[in-house]
Symmetry: D2
Subunit: 457 residues, 4 copies
């Protein structure tokens, strides 16, 4: 790949807006020559992104030589691609809102309903057919391409891609550990009265699964800074640590880190994902009600927020289209471009990745999807050996890896009764069997158009 | 042992009545020469059993030559014992009732509170010191004795015995799989219009843990009778199968087997323990409320039942003492005597046993306590290789083996905060962290006299 | 099977004489009703056995009701069989002699050339096609039959049967551990001045592979008799222990047990197979030359012995045919009939068996063929958990399990170059690559008629 | 460490000359401030190196600020060290020659006698006490130092360091894979008519153990170049590939790569160590006699070579001392300095390392010493997950890991009879037990001054 004059990127999206803008603006900051082919079931979305993307070349800070092209079909977008980027949020706004509100009517509160919780199971069932379809098309059009999934449910998406095409070179790229590393950096700065230590200078050993992952080593310049973290953790455990007091009330993506602190005191490892994801992967300890979540100082996704976001995105989109606004070109907030550059042979990168466990997490099952650090180099990703999860964190994690296995078996056997076992076993499921059955049926009914896949047997 | 004229048995009890009577009456049916030494913190209990036991020799059906002696100290009872039988129910009636009712005030219904559920955790914490004490005394007085635990919590008791004396030759003996085997026998009889097939003629492959164990093979005369079981299961799934309609309402030990049937249809394996135990090891699917349990046709332990049982036992005890009643001498309803005879070298016995997993259950952790079939022979127990639990049953089981490990770590490190992690992780725990903390504190307060052990560090 | 009036047995032989006579005479001692169908490529062998077998009914000690029938085809013999007994010694007398003498010309001495050594590899290559053929015919004619292999190479035969029909219910039955158990019994008798202790009263824990297996526990009446064994071992290590002094010089099947004693002192476990087999599975420690073997007091197979045996068998056969001699009817020197009776549901039997490792030997690879004790009951064989081999015995054993895997891969891929890797890796192989290549080619040439199987790709 | 003005390095040597010169000249090429403390039992060696080292500062190409100091004691050298470098060749010239010649008198030819072969076992026994002594001193003087072993026997040395101080941060650094990578580079150059491709541009997946390790992936600029390697391998298999024809005859460190080619054709993986080491870890396939070794075109170590080397070194040493010659200052032929710089936090380095297997080689035992790639960063080494060895290579490798375990058990239990089991099991051992015993005794006698360690029990 390294000697290619120009690379081909397929960008496959569904209900994704901001992610694509971020990708394009980061790409514009690099000295890269590429053609990006968009495919979205909503053709208008592709066309909009094509227009916005092609305007970037006119900005003076642009360094890249990238052409954006909206395509009509998945095959067309994928043909001979070097990279395939997936930004899929499968489901309409109504369906996503259902993922949250139907369980809530039965007393089950969720924070994101993206990967875990009853909503997470339903979202998984919806996402699998889309991923299988992409994987089959990858097999046909670009079997050697690196396929990078960026959306949730991460683990199920990667498993479904492999279901569709077992040899697929797929991995997951997210920023989910950045905030936790930043928090460590913040504490190290505070402790040493140093000027702001940068997140990237905190070296971590990372292990776990997407949405429920952990640092069990944190060093700064080769020194163990876990004792510093512990000191601040103890200070802030009761009231949390917020960059902007109360922000979590309006923005469900921020938190006061109280869940993180509680987990650390309990298990001795630093939650590397956001509080809302960590809380949602546990029993209802932190999220039995909206009030409980509030006490723990993290927000939960809700219809108002989602609708507001959509309106804002549409407005911003219009401005970007007609030139009233421009995307800010800035390098590498995410790791995605770095990972791609490493795979192109331009440098080595060590960063977090979601991929199949071949033993990099020693006490999780071989074959499940895990998140650890890995070495990205020319056309190669090698996970770094990451050790073992603490016993009790392991037990909590195994519930999810087991459920994910169950959901995939349901997909393979096209049997939604099997998936119900995962629904039942989710840690947030506190209902009895009859109620759970009713809820499951209601939720399936709400996404029935996606269930054709499960009838083909 | 085989050439001994007479064996020495230490019978260590606490709040145990019926179990001892059953043991003595079964022993009387055998051609065995033994001295049984009783030890109970309540000396009067030992004296009563001594009197009742020694009367057995006068009954014409008695075949044994057994002398019963009440002792004052644990050491005295254990000295040079060949067998040590533990029948411990640690805690006063009030404490046992608390195990059930305190959680119920928070909405957590339990069926027995013996091994799982919040009550199970508390009972474990109470039982560990007693077992460690016995183990240390065994080490001193009879290091080569076989130590047979018969009470709950089985797994924690065996782990605690090993904590006190790592080389202890301990195993667990229960009858908990008999009813399930009997049910298979019943269906085989019905199917074939054969006269009553006996439970002992149903051969099973057994695997799992005490209270949550499974048959994945059932044969009769070498033929697979799983298809017969399935047929009857499907017929009875909706309304259950009861020997005496509605009996579960007054006797918490019987059930309509609906939980068993539901589990079979879901996972393809036959629950080998009672419905109430199976239900209690799961999330609140079958037991979210007393009403739910009723719908699933199994009873739950309650104060009235326990009190009535005590009164009846006391009355019966008085009659046995003064000769107004006698114990019925009958061979081997339980397997305990058979196991002892095998260990004495009198025959080989294949039966279920609770012991350390050395791989007999291939997908449970090495070192946890499992229940499988084993070969008992002269001074030897060898587990039979029993295969793997189905994926989803495995996931449910791992929650308990993990919790048991956590509880034992709490005992080793004398840190009740660690045990709280097991309390939190119990499948029946649906409370948030604050409520769970409060309940845990209340429950610990209720057993504070037993917690001295955890302060010694 | 248990309720069958009469069972059907297929007895498939090749170059086997004595084994069949022993089987028939043991069968005659049992209260069993059966029809035995013989198949041998040499039809005359079947007819002879038919005649001899049917004469047994006339002897007064006969208890069985067995009819023997010689068949023309494998299919005919197997049709609807309940049991299939394999007694295959694949190869002509010349070929078997070549297995021994060709390597010896290069300085490689072997004791049996049955399972290990260069001759063992060649014999394996010859045996695989025969076993695959039987397995495919079993699949067609009697898929549920128990298939019992009695000949060498045991492990390869069982692997080849599974290659031909993966679901085959096959196991290996041998007497190879009897002599070692008898030796323990002998020492226990001597030690205690007891009248002769019987081999069957020595209980063992057995683990390893056919030809290279071990007792790591030996008890008599529940007591550990390892210390007694050690005492006698030390006494006899230097000069060996023989029942008949010097017998090993004329009978290659007996030994002075010196290899066994040396191994015990080195590794602490009792070799459960014959000295000649144990020696042959090691590097040339005990068998670098015929003289070395002689010093260690075990015989080695040779052409004279084989030829004499054939002549004797032919003479005896003639006498049996014409009534000048009769087979002695005597129960169960071997375990074969016992195992069959257990599988018929007539009793439970614990005995040694060769079968797939599902974890019964914890540190040998899952899926290789191991020898341990197992519980035989109605239509079921369950291995008893047998623990771990000592580190250094493990290392020696892994060489053979690895070689067997290589040989089977050669068979699957029909590639004799792969099998050469096993030939090279055999512990007795001390040649350099060129010499080894030459020897391999010579030996293959000698069995070329059997190699058609490996050309079909 | 990163913010230290100056680092402290302890350089512990024994019979090591060239290695130290190379280290000093590479260090001089770096912008590093350090004090290096020498310790050698031969004080004169330290003084010589001190003088030679301190002259480097005067050379114009010198970039470093390094002071060299000869010390009198191990403790003095180690005090507060940041790095400890071990360059131990334990034994006199006579002893090393004995390692080779005593076995050869019995017909056992070795190529280096450093890690494997009978000589390797003896050398291991000699080396263990020296390493244990260093480790105990590290524990006392610089418990957090990184301890870098550079000499053979690598695996035993690292195991012995851990025996002396289980928490030691030790790893092995060698160049042994460079030549194999260079060969791949050579073939890629030839194939593409490119100007010389550099070894560092060949990316490999490396796995195995020191002296017997393998590339199972080789890429150049992200492209798989295994097919190119195969093509050239096939061309050169018969006659080898030499940079200088016949050089192997006079220099035992070079070879015609015929062993490498033969192994590749047999197993499909590229031997990453030198032919002589690979050959010496196998049975006598390539090295049954000196002539066989010659046919395979690799040299074997011999007394003349060793003596000549010593004379040359002494002469060169004298010249360096009196200024008639200077060391050539040149950066990083080895990886040692790079690894140190990475551990100091100056950069990230991916390179090969010998360290404990925590799963980086999935089918070698956990806890043995393996060689794979690893990520070196600030005060941290994380192995990269490296997959599995092919079945047959695994079998060959397990012989050595098993033997190393045996040797270490001998050291722990201070029992040279245990070590004899490793001696017996070495793949080159073709003797019978009596001869092997005699040879072992002779060889032990030859190093009796080193055996005090084994008598202390």
């Amino acid at each position: 790949m390294a000697d290619k004059k120009s690379i081909r990127i397929a960008y496959i999206s569904e209900n994704s807006t901001n992610e694509c803008w971020q990708f394009m603006s980061e790409l514009a900051a690099e000295d890269i020559e590429a053609t990006v082919f968009f495919y979205d079931k909503d053709k208008q979305a592709s066309v909009t992104n094509e227009t916005i993307g092609n305007k970037l070349r006119e900005q003076p800070e642009n360094k890249a030589n990238v052409i954006y092209i909206a395509t009509d079909t998945l095959d067309e977008a994928l043909r001979d691609a070097d990279f395939v980027i997936l930004s899929l949020s499968v489901g309409t706004l109504d369906e996503i809102i259902n993922d949250i509100y139907l369980p809530e009517r039965y007393g089950i509160v969720q924070a994101t309903a993206e990967s875990a919780g009853p909503g997470g199971v339903i979202r998984a069932l919806r996402t699998i057919p889309a991923c299988v379809e992409v994987a089959e098309a990858v097999k046909k059009n670009c079997p050697d391409a690196w396929v990078i999934n960026t959306g949730n449910p991460m683990n199920i998406s990667l498993m479904a891609l492999r279901e569709g095409y077992p040899e697929i070179k797929a991995f997951g790229s997210t920023n989910e550990t950045f905030a936790a590393a930043e928090l460590v950096a913040e504490f190290v700065s505070k402790d040493s009265n140093l000027p702001r230590v940068h997140r990237k200078d905190i070296k971590t050993n990372l292990l776990g699964i997407n949405g429920f992952c952990w640092f069990d080593e944190v060093t700064y310049q080769g020194q163990d800074v876990m004792p510093i973290y512990r000191k601040f953790n103890e200070n802030f455990a009761a009231n949390g640590f917020e960059y902007h007091t109360g922000e979590f009330k309006s923005n469900p993506k921020v938190s006061g880190n109280r869940v993180k602190f509680d987990m650390f005191l309990r298990y001795g490892v630093i939650a590397a994902a956001d509080d809302r994801h960590i809380a949602e992967h546990c029993p209802p300890w932190y999220i039995s009600t909206q009030k409980t979540a509030g006490n723990w100082k993290f927000g939960t996704l809700n219809a108002n927020y989602l609708k507001r976001l959509r309106v804002e995105n549409q407005a911003h989109s219009k401005k970007l289209m007609n030139g009233d606004s421009t995307l800010k070109i800035a390098p590498g907030k995410s790791d995605l471009i770095n990972q791609m550059k490493a795979l192109m042979g331009l440098k080595n990168v060590i960063t977090n990745v979601d991929m199949v466990n071949d033993g990099q997490v020693a006490n999780l099952p071989i074959g499940c999807i895990v998140q650890t650090n890995a070495l990205f180099s020319n056309n190669s990703i090698k996970p770094v050996l990451s050790g073992k999860l603490p016993d009790e964190v392991l037990a909590l994690t195994l519930r999810h890896t087991s459920n994910q296995t169950t959901i995939m078996r349901a997909a393979k056997e096209k049997d939604l009764d099997i998936a119900f076992n995962a629904f039942l076993n989710d840690p947030l499921m506190t209902l009895n069997l009859d109620e759970a059955t009713t809820l499951y049926t209601e939720m399936l009914t709400g996404i029935r158009s996606h269930l054709v896949y499960y009838l083909n047997n």
